[in-house]
């Protein structure tokens, strides 16, 4: 169930270039959150809320962590918020990453600010073990390496400029892992060109793939139809709602435009 909570900020700190980690005290939301779901955050006087993925939900402590990049006015406002301040959030929203039918090996592939929603997949999606391939533009933007290390069997970091980890994009190290076989699913989130490349590569290995999409949003709850993603199901193309049927979709059904 989605709810509106006034969440107290426990921490809002810069963890990488223009990237912040925000801890919120919101017990009900933390209890219900599933990996891949998001919250819709009111940013000051802005008319539109900003959708931000839930990076980590701790049901016991009653808090969630969001990791966000400063992009425009809304996220810049968010970055100036201080500990103790209240944030108006709606959530948990959307359809997250599915729980695996049986415990098996999972491969998660993230690009840039698409990395955070994948963190909890290792805990909450019923995987036996998780390997992570995480791509960033440059070392200064690398985030969450230690957090993934704690939860995954292996973590491969790539940077496009070669300043850290494996030089280049995520596709090559990802393909090397897929060649070893044994994965029952790939979960991915990141910029569209990356997702497109990931989906094409994964398809060669016949592994089911789920991807999380982004689209500009209005209501965030399914009512206004502005967050359209083109999805092909049973032969027909339709615009589905990223905030309701998504943000996570079966990669085979997504029509990249």
């Amino acid at each position: 169930m989605a709810r509106q909570e006034m969440a107290r900020i426990l921490q809002n700190e810069c963890i990488a270039l223009d990237t912040y980690s925000l801890w919120l005290d919101c017990p009900a939301l933390a209890r219900e959150a599933q990996p891949g779901q998001f919250v819709h955050v009111l940013c000051g006087e802005k008319t539109l809320r900003r959708p931000i993925s839930i990076c980590h939900a701790d049901a016991l402590l009653g808090r969630i962590t969001l990791v966000y990049a400063v992009h425009g006015e809304g996220t810049a406002w968010l970055s100036r918020c201080l500990r103790g301040q209240q944030l108006d959030v709606l959530g948990p929203l959307g359809n997250g990453f599915p729980v695996l039918e049986k415990p098996a090996r999972l491969l998660v592939v993230g690009g840039g600010i698409g990395v955070p929603p994948l963190l909890d997949c290792s805990l909450r999606c019923g995987a036996k073990s998780v390997d992570a391939v995480l791509g960033f533009r440059t070392q200064a933007q690398c985030i969450l390496e230690a957090e993934f290390e704690r939860k995954c069997a292996s973590v491969t970091i790539c940077t496009e400029d070669g300043s850290y980890g494996v030089p280049g994009r995520v596709t090559a190290p990802m393909e090397a892992l897929l060649q070893q076989g044994g994965y029952s699913a790939v979960y991915a989130c990141g910029p569209v060109p990356m997702l497109n490349a990931v989906v094409q590569t994964v398809a060669k290995y016949g592994v089911p793939c789920q991807i999380s999409l982004e689209e500009r949003m209005g209501c965030g709850v399914g009512a206004c139809l502005v967050c359209a993603a083109k999805i092909r199901r049973t032969g027909t193309e339709d615009y589905l709602r990223v905030c309701k049927e998504g943000p996570v979709f079966n990669a085979e059904e997504v029509v990249f435009e």
């Binding site: 709810r3 809320r49 209005g218 009512a223 206004c224 359209a228 615009y239």
Partner: protein, 304 residues
């Protein structure tokens, strides 16, 4: 008698607060926040005779105190709406208003014909959608077209009250309102969105994939108040005012300008509780004004 009860065209509303077409779906997506029966009514997403895919994304852009949208009437078609969505809505104990659009006169007539035989309480004729290439706003911007469309639709409306929703993108909304009244409209609703555009100065691209879209939200309130005030003085039909209502004071402005009921759209994106807060605010206001019913305040602006 309840302070907020209003009656429009013989339909009783428990309060004059209705959620606006296209912003609230069929209500179902908002049930997590409060019981829909608290609302005066719900105006549903615009329906066309046949399903429509809508425009490619991005379909929304933020502007100063408002938004632009270019959804383009994505909907599953009127028959699907009547079969799948309406029965649920009719069980919610609030007034159900269908919003009907079309791209040809024939579409409008067949669409409304089906709605007239359904259980909806009222029909809102959308001759003012700025986001579809054919039809929509074209039906609402010339008096001759408005008359022709409203007359044809009214013939198949049966006993259902027909609300005609007006576009602000016209030279004289008063002339259009008069045309709708003379053609048989039972009520008017205004305003639909104002056509606008936003450009990303780095990429030189409009934000909306459709290039242009409809402006709504707080930014449009003064335009809506002015238009309701002008139309109130020109026609005697009930008026449902909307455009930029985010708090009870905005709703009160529209009522003083001449609205009998109001709709809330964009405000729910910012605050899903906005309709309830506005209902409570209006009730307290009516009480302070010492009137027996809020309808006594309609049109009571003391214009200079």
């Amino acid at each position: 008698m309840n302070l907020l009860n209003v009656s429009l065209c013989g339909v009783d509303f428990k309060n004059p607060v209705i959620t606006a077409s296209g912003t609230y779906g069929f209500g179902k997506d908002y049930t997590d926040f409060f019981p829909l029966e608290r609302l005066g009514g719900i105006s549903c997403k615009g329906m066309t005779l046949l399903p429509r895919l809508g425009n490619p994304p991005p379909r929304i852009a933020e502007t100063a105190s408002g938004i632009l949208n270019s959804v383009g009437l994505q909907n599953p078609g009127v028959a699907h709406f009547i079969r799948e969505d309406l029965p649920w809505l009719l069980a919610q104990n609030t007034v159900a208003i269908a919003n009907a659009a079309g791209s040809t006169l024939e579409d409008y007539v067949q669409n409304v014909e089906q709605l007239a035989q359904s259980g909806v309480h009222m029909i809102e004729l959308n001759i003012s959608c700025p986001n579809v290439r054919e039809g929509g706003v074209a039906f609402g911007t010339s008096c001759a077209n408005v008359e022709k469309t409203v007359m044809a639709v009214k013939k198949v409306c049966g006993a259902k009250p027909l609300i005609v929703k007006l576009s602000p993108n016209v030279t004289s909304i008063v002339e259009i309102a008069r045309a709708a009244e003379s053609a048989g409209a039972d009520a008017l609703s205004l305003i639909n969105t104002i056509t606008g555009m936003k450009i990303d100065v780095e990429t030189h691209r409009p934000i909306l994939r459709n290039n242009t879209g409809g402006l709504s939200g707080a930014a449009v309130l003064p335009v809506a108040v002015r238009m309701v005030w002008e139309v109130r003085r020109a026609v005697s039909l009930p008026i449902i005012g909307m455009g930029g209502v985010t708090k009870w004071q905005d709703a009160a402005e529209l009522i003083l300008a001449g609205a009998d009921a109001i709709q809330i759209g964009t405000a729910c994106f910012t605050n899903p509780m906005a309709p309830l807060e506005i209902i409570d605010g209006l009730e307290a206001w009516a009480e302070r004004e010492c009137c027996g019913n809020i309808s006594e305040l309609s049109g009571q602006v003391r214009a200079w």
